[in-house]
Point group: C2
Chain length 172, copies 2
DNA sequence: GAATCGTGGATGATATTTATCCGTGAATTG
DNA sequence: CAATTCACGGATAAATATCATCCACGATTC
Protein backbone atom coordinates (compact mmCIF):
# COMPACT_ATOMS: atom_id res chain seq x y z
CA UNK A 1 0.00 0.00 0.00
CA UNK A 2 1.59 3.19 -1.13
CA UNK A 3 0.03 6.56 -1.74
CA UNK A 4 1.26 8.33 -4.86
CA UNK A 5 3.44 11.41 -4.48
CA UNK A 6 0.80 13.35 -6.36
CA UNK A 7 -1.35 13.31 -3.24
CA UNK A 8 1.15 15.33 -1.27
CA UNK A 9 1.56 17.78 -4.12
CA UNK A 10 -2.17 18.21 -4.54
CA UNK A 11 -2.71 18.74 -0.84
CA UNK A 12 0.04 21.32 -0.57
CA UNK A 13 -1.19 23.19 -3.62
CA UNK A 14 -4.72 23.24 -2.31
CA UNK A 15 -3.51 24.55 1.03
CA UNK A 16 -1.38 27.11 -0.72
CA UNK A 17 -4.31 28.36 -2.76
CA UNK A 18 -6.42 28.45 0.36
CA UNK A 19 -3.90 30.74 2.00
CA UNK A 20 -4.17 33.35 -0.73
CA UNK A 21 -6.44 36.34 -0.29
CA UNK A 22 -9.86 35.90 -1.82
CA UNK A 23 -9.71 35.59 -5.59
CA UNK A 24 -5.96 35.00 -5.62
CA UNK A 25 -4.66 32.94 -8.52
CA UNK A 26 -1.48 30.96 -9.07
CA UNK A 27 -0.35 29.34 -12.29
CA UNK A 28 0.58 25.69 -12.33
CA UNK A 29 4.15 26.58 -13.14
CA UNK A 30 4.38 28.93 -10.18
CA UNK A 31 3.15 26.23 -7.82
CA UNK A 32 5.52 23.66 -9.32
CA UNK A 33 8.44 26.03 -8.88
CA UNK A 34 7.41 26.87 -5.35
CA UNK A 35 7.32 23.23 -4.34
CA UNK A 36 10.27 22.19 -6.45
CA UNK A 37 8.36 19.45 -8.26
CA UNK A 38 7.87 18.45 -11.87
CA UNK A 39 5.41 20.84 -13.56
CA UNK A 40 4.07 18.15 -15.88
CA UNK A 41 3.21 15.80 -13.08
CA UNK A 42 1.67 18.50 -10.96
CA UNK A 43 -0.43 19.56 -13.94
CA UNK A 44 -1.99 16.15 -14.11
CA UNK A 45 -3.21 16.37 -10.54
CA UNK A 46 -4.36 19.95 -10.78
CA UNK A 47 -6.50 18.85 -13.69
CA UNK A 48 -7.93 16.09 -11.56
CA UNK A 49 -8.80 18.62 -8.89
CA UNK A 50 -10.42 20.79 -11.55
CA UNK A 51 -12.53 17.94 -12.85
CA UNK A 52 -13.63 17.23 -9.29
CA UNK A 53 -14.79 20.85 -9.01
CA UNK A 54 -12.37 21.63 -6.23
CA UNK A 55 -10.37 24.12 -8.25
CA UNK A 56 -11.50 26.68 -10.75
CA UNK A 57 -9.29 27.52 -13.67
CA UNK A 58 -8.79 30.87 -15.30
CA UNK A 59 -7.32 30.50 -18.79
CA UNK A 60 -5.12 32.93 -20.62
CA UNK A 61 -1.84 34.68 -19.92
CA UNK A 62 -3.04 36.02 -16.57
CA UNK A 63 -4.79 32.82 -15.72
CA UNK A 64 -4.15 30.16 -13.13
CA UNK A 65 -5.90 28.13 -10.48
CA UNK A 66 -7.98 29.21 -7.54
CA UNK A 67 -10.19 27.35 -5.09
CA UNK A 68 -13.67 26.66 -6.38
CA UNK A 69 -15.11 26.85 -2.85
CA UNK A 70 -14.28 28.40 0.48
CA UNK A 71 -11.43 26.66 2.34
CA UNK A 72 -13.78 25.41 5.03
CA UNK A 73 -15.85 23.68 2.36
CA UNK A 74 -13.01 21.51 1.05
CA UNK A 75 -11.90 18.50 3.06
CA UNK A 76 -8.75 16.48 2.77
CA UNK A 77 -10.92 13.59 1.67
CA UNK A 78 -12.15 15.63 -1.29
CA UNK A 79 -8.58 16.12 -2.46
CA UNK A 80 -7.50 12.53 -1.85
CA UNK A 81 -10.49 11.07 -3.67
CA UNK A 82 -10.06 13.47 -6.59
CA UNK A 83 -6.47 12.33 -7.10
CA UNK A 84 -6.61 8.66 -6.16
CA UNK A 85 -10.07 7.90 -7.40
CA UNK A 86 -13.13 6.90 -5.41
CA UNK A 87 -12.51 3.16 -5.33
CA UNK A 88 -11.60 1.59 -2.03
CA UNK A 89 -8.06 0.33 -1.59
CA UNK A 90 -9.27 -3.16 -0.81
CA UNK A 91 -11.09 -4.90 -3.62
CA UNK A 92 -12.61 -8.20 -2.68
CA UNK A 93 -12.09 -10.64 -5.53
CA UNK A 94 -14.25 -13.23 -3.81
CA UNK A 95 -11.50 -15.78 -4.05
CA UNK A 96 -13.37 -17.80 -1.46
CA UNK A 97 -15.64 -18.91 -4.31
CA UNK A 98 -12.88 -19.73 -6.78
CA UNK A 99 -11.95 -23.17 -5.55
CA UNK A 100 -12.37 -26.37 -7.53
CA UNK A 101 -14.52 -27.73 -4.73
CA UNK A 102 -16.86 -24.85 -3.94
CA UNK A 103 -18.51 -24.73 -0.59
CA UNK A 104 -22.32 -24.91 -0.47
CA UNK A 105 -23.97 -21.77 -1.75
CA UNK A 106 -25.54 -21.14 1.64
CA UNK A 107 -22.08 -20.29 2.83
CA UNK A 108 -21.93 -17.26 0.55
CA UNK A 109 -25.28 -15.75 1.29
CA UNK A 110 -23.57 -13.67 3.93
CA UNK A 111 -21.15 -11.03 2.62
CA UNK A 112 -17.48 -11.78 3.01
CA UNK A 113 -16.58 -10.80 6.55
CA UNK A 114 -13.01 -10.04 5.57
CA UNK A 115 -14.19 -7.61 2.95
CA UNK A 116 -16.59 -6.03 5.42
CA UNK A 117 -13.87 -5.53 8.01
CA UNK A 118 -11.44 -4.04 5.52
CA UNK A 119 -14.02 -1.62 4.20
CA UNK A 120 -14.98 -0.66 7.74
CA UNK A 121 -11.37 0.26 8.41
CA UNK A 122 -11.23 2.23 5.21
CA UNK A 123 -14.34 4.10 6.19
CA UNK A 124 -12.70 5.09 9.45
CA UNK A 125 -9.78 6.38 7.40
CA UNK A 126 -12.02 8.48 5.23
CA UNK A 127 -14.05 9.75 8.13
CA UNK A 128 -10.87 11.07 9.68
CA UNK A 129 -9.86 12.81 6.45
CA UNK A 130 -13.34 14.19 6.01
CA UNK A 131 -13.11 15.89 9.39
CA UNK A 132 -10.23 18.13 8.31
CA UNK A 133 -10.75 21.05 5.97
CA UNK A 134 -8.22 23.31 4.31
CA UNK A 135 -9.36 26.03 6.67
CA UNK A 136 -8.40 23.82 9.62
CA UNK A 137 -4.90 23.43 8.24
CA UNK A 138 -4.53 27.17 7.86
CA UNK A 139 -5.73 27.72 11.39
CA UNK A 140 -3.15 25.29 12.75
CA UNK A 141 -0.50 26.98 10.69
CA UNK A 142 -1.48 30.38 11.98
CA UNK A 143 -1.34 29.08 15.54
CA UNK A 144 2.17 27.72 15.15
CA UNK A 145 3.43 30.56 13.06
CA UNK A 146 1.90 33.99 13.27
CA UNK A 147 0.34 34.41 9.88
CA UNK A 148 -0.66 32.61 6.74
CA UNK A 149 1.91 31.83 4.14
CA UNK A 150 0.93 34.56 1.73
CA UNK A 151 0.44 37.09 4.48
CA UNK A 152 4.15 37.08 5.15
CA UNK A 153 4.68 38.88 1.87
CA UNK A 154 7.29 36.59 0.37
CA UNK A 155 8.85 37.89 -2.77
CA UNK A 156 7.61 34.78 -4.47
CA UNK A 157 3.99 35.69 -4.04
CA UNK A 158 4.54 39.33 -4.82
CA UNK A 159 5.90 38.08 -8.09
CA UNK A 160 3.47 35.34 -9.05
CA UNK A 161 0.19 35.88 -7.32
CA UNK A 162 -2.61 37.22 -9.45
CA UNK A 163 -6.14 38.27 -8.92
CA UNK A 164 -9.03 36.81 -10.84
CA UNK A 165 -10.72 40.19 -11.33
CA UNK A 166 -8.95 43.17 -12.83
CA UNK A 167 -8.52 45.07 -9.60
CA UNK A 168 -6.50 48.25 -10.13
CA UNK A 169 -4.58 48.27 -6.88
CA UNK A 170 -2.56 51.39 -6.23
CA UNK A 171 1.14 50.68 -6.55
CA UNK A 172 3.05 51.51 -3.40
CA UNK B 1 -3.94 3.79 -3.53
CA UNK B 2 -4.40 0.12 -4.11
CA UNK B 3 -3.98 -2.75 -1.71
CA UNK B 4 -2.19 -5.71 -3.25
CA UNK B 5 -4.21 -8.81 -4.05
CA UNK B 6 -1.89 -10.72 -1.77
CA UNK B 7 -3.64 -9.16 1.20
CA UNK B 8 -6.90 -10.83 0.37
CA UNK B 9 -5.19 -14.14 -0.17
CA UNK B 10 -3.29 -13.92 3.08
CA UNK B 11 -6.40 -12.98 5.04
CA UNK B 12 -8.45 -15.79 3.58
CA UNK B 13 -5.71 -18.33 4.20
CA UNK B 14 -5.30 -17.17 7.78
CA UNK B 15 -9.05 -17.43 8.33
CA UNK B 16 -9.09 -20.82 6.69
CA UNK B 17 -6.33 -22.09 8.97
CA UNK B 18 -8.14 -20.61 11.94
CA UNK B 19 -11.22 -22.61 11.05
CA UNK B 20 -9.40 -25.92 11.18
CA UNK B 21 -9.52 -28.06 14.30
CA UNK B 22 -6.61 -27.49 16.61
CA UNK B 23 -3.35 -28.60 15.06
CA UNK B 24 -4.79 -28.81 11.57
CA UNK B 25 -2.34 -28.24 8.74
CA UNK B 26 -2.77 -27.28 5.11
CA UNK B 27 -0.07 -27.18 2.47
CA UNK B 28 0.49 -24.07 0.42
CA UNK B 29 -0.57 -25.88 -2.69
CA UNK B 30 -3.81 -27.02 -1.09
CA UNK B 31 -4.68 -23.45 -0.11
CA UNK B 32 -3.78 -22.13 -3.55
CA UNK B 33 -6.00 -24.74 -5.18
CA UNK B 34 -8.81 -24.06 -2.77
CA UNK B 35 -8.77 -20.35 -3.54
CA UNK B 36 -7.95 -20.72 -7.21
CA UNK B 37 -4.90 -18.46 -7.05
CA UNK B 38 -1.30 -18.66 -8.20
CA UNK B 39 0.65 -20.99 -5.87
CA UNK B 40 3.91 -19.08 -6.34
CA UNK B 41 2.37 -15.79 -5.40
CA UNK B 42 0.55 -17.23 -2.44
CA UNK B 43 3.77 -18.86 -1.25
CA UNK B 44 5.41 -15.49 -1.11
CA UNK B 45 2.78 -14.16 1.26
CA UNK B 46 2.62 -17.29 3.37
CA UNK B 47 6.35 -16.93 3.88
CA UNK B 48 5.83 -13.33 4.92
CA UNK B 49 3.29 -14.48 7.48
CA UNK B 50 5.74 -17.09 8.71
CA UNK B 51 8.48 -14.53 9.15
CA UNK B 52 6.08 -12.37 11.12
CA UNK B 53 5.46 -15.34 13.43
CA UNK B 54 1.80 -15.54 12.54
CA UNK B 55 2.07 -18.94 10.92
CA UNK B 56 4.11 -21.95 11.90
CA UNK B 57 5.46 -24.22 9.22
CA UNK B 58 5.83 -27.96 9.37
CA UNK B 59 8.27 -29.27 6.76
CA UNK B 60 8.31 -32.68 5.22
CA UNK B 61 5.94 -34.82 3.17
CA UNK B 62 3.09 -34.41 5.66
CA UNK B 63 3.91 -30.77 6.38
CA UNK B 64 2.13 -27.51 5.79
CA UNK B 65 1.09 -24.35 7.59
CA UNK B 66 -0.82 -23.83 10.81
CA UNK B 67 -1.50 -20.79 12.95
CA UNK B 68 1.30 -19.90 15.31
CA UNK B 69 -1.17 -18.51 17.87
CA UNK B 70 -4.78 -18.90 18.85
CA UNK B 71 -7.22 -17.23 16.42
CA UNK B 72 -8.21 -14.64 19.01
CA UNK B 73 -4.58 -13.60 19.30
CA UNK B 74 -4.17 -12.67 15.62
CA UNK B 75 -5.67 -9.43 14.37
CA UNK B 76 -6.31 -8.34 10.82
CA UNK B 77 -3.72 -5.65 11.35
CA UNK B 78 -1.11 -8.32 12.07
CA UNK B 79 -1.78 -9.92 8.72
CA UNK B 80 -1.93 -6.68 6.76
CA UNK B 81 1.31 -5.35 8.22
CA UNK B 82 3.07 -8.67 7.66
CA UNK B 83 2.20 -8.56 3.96
CA UNK B 84 2.31 -4.85 3.17
CA UNK B 85 5.09 -3.84 5.48
CA UNK B 86 4.93 -1.49 8.45
CA UNK B 87 5.46 1.78 6.60
CA UNK B 88 2.56 4.21 6.37
CA UNK B 89 0.95 4.72 2.99
CA UNK B 90 1.57 8.46 3.08
CA UNK B 91 5.21 9.51 3.07
CA UNK B 92 5.75 13.22 3.54
CA UNK B 93 8.51 14.39 1.23
CA UNK B 94 8.52 17.85 2.81
CA UNK B 95 8.04 19.47 -0.56
CA UNK B 96 7.02 22.62 1.26
CA UNK B 97 10.72 23.23 1.83
CA UNK B 98 11.84 22.56 -1.72
CA UNK B 99 11.06 25.89 -3.30
CA UNK B 100 13.60 28.28 -4.75
CA UNK B 101 12.35 30.96 -2.40
CA UNK B 102 12.12 29.14 0.90
CA UNK B 103 9.89 30.49 3.56
CA UNK B 104 11.47 31.58 6.84
CA UNK B 105 12.73 28.69 8.92
CA UNK B 106 10.32 29.53 11.70
CA UNK B 107 7.60 28.36 9.41
CA UNK B 108 8.93 24.79 9.50
CA UNK B 109 9.45 24.41 13.22
CA UNK B 110 5.96 23.00 13.43
CA UNK B 111 5.47 19.60 11.82
CA UNK B 112 3.68 19.55 8.50
CA UNK B 113 -0.02 19.64 9.31
CA UNK B 114 -0.89 17.79 6.14
CA UNK B 115 1.40 14.95 7.08
CA UNK B 116 -0.02 14.91 10.61
CA UNK B 117 -3.59 14.70 9.34
CA UNK B 118 -2.81 11.94 6.89
CA UNK B 119 -1.04 9.88 9.51
CA UNK B 120 -3.88 10.44 11.94
CA UNK B 121 -6.27 8.97 9.38
CA UNK B 122 -3.99 6.05 8.83
CA UNK B 123 -3.86 5.39 12.54
CA UNK B 124 -7.65 5.27 12.62
CA UNK B 125 -7.48 2.72 9.84
CA UNK B 126 -5.09 0.54 11.75
CA UNK B 127 -6.99 0.86 14.97
CA UNK B 128 -10.04 -0.50 13.25
CA UNK B 129 -8.12 -3.46 11.83
CA UNK B 130 -6.52 -4.13 15.18
CA UNK B 131 -9.95 -4.52 16.76
CA UNK B 132 -10.84 -7.54 14.62
CA UNK B 133 -9.30 -10.96 15.24
CA UNK B 134 -9.52 -14.12 13.20
CA UNK B 135 -11.71 -15.52 15.94
CA UNK B 136 -14.16 -12.65 15.40
CA UNK B 137 -14.40 -13.53 11.72
CA UNK B 138 -15.13 -17.15 12.53
CA UNK B 139 -17.78 -16.15 15.02
CA UNK B 140 -19.53 -13.99 12.42
CA UNK B 141 -19.30 -16.81 9.95
CA UNK B 142 -20.79 -19.27 12.40
CA UNK B 143 -23.63 -16.88 13.09
CA UNK B 144 -24.52 -16.52 9.41
CA UNK B 145 -23.92 -20.11 8.52
CA UNK B 146 -24.26 -22.85 11.07
CA UNK B 147 -20.74 -24.11 11.35
CA UNK B 148 -17.15 -23.38 10.52
CA UNK B 149 -15.87 -24.09 7.07
CA UNK B 150 -13.99 -27.22 7.94
CA UNK B 151 -16.75 -28.49 10.18
CA UNK B 152 -18.95 -28.99 7.17
CA UNK B 153 -16.77 -31.90 6.15
CA UNK B 154 -16.07 -30.90 2.59
CA UNK B 155 -14.34 -33.48 0.50
CA UNK B 156 -11.57 -31.01 -0.04
CA UNK B 157 -10.59 -30.96 3.59
CA UNK B 158 -11.04 -34.67 4.03
CA UNK B 159 -8.49 -34.97 1.30
CA UNK B 160 -5.96 -32.29 2.19
CA UNK B 161 -6.17 -31.50 5.85
CA UNK B 162 -3.46 -32.93 8.04
CA UNK B 163 -2.71 -32.96 11.68
CA UNK B 164 0.60 -31.77 13.01
CA UNK B 165 0.79 -34.22 15.89
CA UNK B 166 -1.31 -37.20 16.90
CA UNK B 167 -1.71 -35.38 20.24
CA UNK B 168 -2.38 -31.74 19.46
CA UNK B 169 -1.41 -29.46 22.31
CA UNK B 170 -2.32 -25.83 21.72
CA UNK B 171 0.72 -23.65 22.17
CA UNK B 172 0.51 -20.21 23.69
C1' DG C 1 -1.10 38.15 -34.40
C1' DA C 2 2.06 36.59 -30.96
C1' DA C 3 2.84 34.99 -26.45
C1' DT C 4 1.05 32.54 -22.38
C1' DC C 5 -1.62 29.20 -20.10
C1' DG C 6 -4.51 25.05 -19.45
C1' DT C 7 -6.01 20.50 -21.79
C1' DG C 8 -5.35 16.03 -23.40
C1' DG C 9 -3.05 12.17 -25.15
C1' DA C 10 1.42 9.68 -26.03
C1' DT C 11 5.74 7.95 -24.13
C1' DG C 12 9.26 6.06 -20.88
C1' DA C 13 10.34 4.60 -15.94
C1' DT C 14 9.20 2.14 -11.88
C1' DA C 15 6.75 -1.02 -8.97
C1' DT C 16 3.91 -4.93 -8.65
C1' DT C 17 2.41 -9.53 -9.90
C1' DT C 18 3.38 -13.92 -11.79
C1' DA C 19 6.22 -17.79 -12.89
C1' DT C 20 10.38 -20.81 -12.58
C1' DC C 21 14.50 -22.94 -10.58
C1' DC C 22 17.38 -25.02 -7.10
C1' DG C 23 18.60 -25.63 -2.04
C1' DT C 24 17.28 -27.25 2.80
C1' DG C 25 14.90 -30.06 6.16
C1' DA C 26 11.85 -33.90 7.56
C1' DA C 27 9.24 -38.20 7.11
C1' DT C 28 8.61 -42.52 4.61
C1' DT C 29 10.58 -46.80 2.78
C1' DG C 30 13.48 -50.69 2.02
C1' DC D 1 20.50 -46.27 8.37
C1' DA D 2 20.64 -44.24 3.77
C1' DA D 3 18.02 -43.15 -0.39
C1' DT D 4 13.86 -41.12 -1.92
C1' DT D 5 10.02 -38.08 -1.83
C1' DC D 6 7.42 -34.12 -0.46
C1' DA D 7 6.99 -29.36 1.15
C1' DC D 8 8.96 -24.90 2.48
C1' DG D 9 12.74 -21.07 1.60
C1' DG D 10 14.99 -17.89 -1.24
C1' DA D 11 16.73 -15.90 -5.50
C1' DT D 12 15.90 -14.77 -10.17
C1' DA D 13 13.36 -13.30 -14.35
C1' DA D 14 9.35 -12.30 -17.42
C1' DA D 15 4.80 -10.04 -17.82
C1' DT D 16 1.78 -6.61 -16.33
C1' DA D 17 -0.07 -2.49 -14.08
C1' DT D 18 0.82 1.87 -12.31
C1' DC D 19 3.43 6.13 -11.86
C1' DA D 20 5.93 9.95 -13.74
C1' DT D 21 7.31 12.73 -17.80
C1' DC D 22 7.09 14.82 -22.19
C1' DC D 23 5.02 16.87 -26.45
C1' DA D 24 1.37 18.78 -29.51
C1' DC D 25 -3.23 21.24 -29.46
C1' DG D 26 -6.88 24.83 -28.62
C1' DA D 27 -8.28 28.90 -25.88
C1' DT D 28 -7.46 33.47 -24.10
C1' DT D 29 -5.23 37.83 -23.34
C1' DC D 30 -2.41 41.82 -24.81
Amino acid sequence: MKLSDGIEQALHCATLLASLPNGGLLSAKAMADFHGVSPSYLLKHLQALSKADLLHTEPGPRGGYRLARAPDQITLLDVVLAVEGPEPAFRCKEIRQNGPNPLPASHFKAPCQINAAMLRAERAYRTELCAVTLADLLADLAAADDGSIAARGCAFFDEHMRRSKPDPTPTT
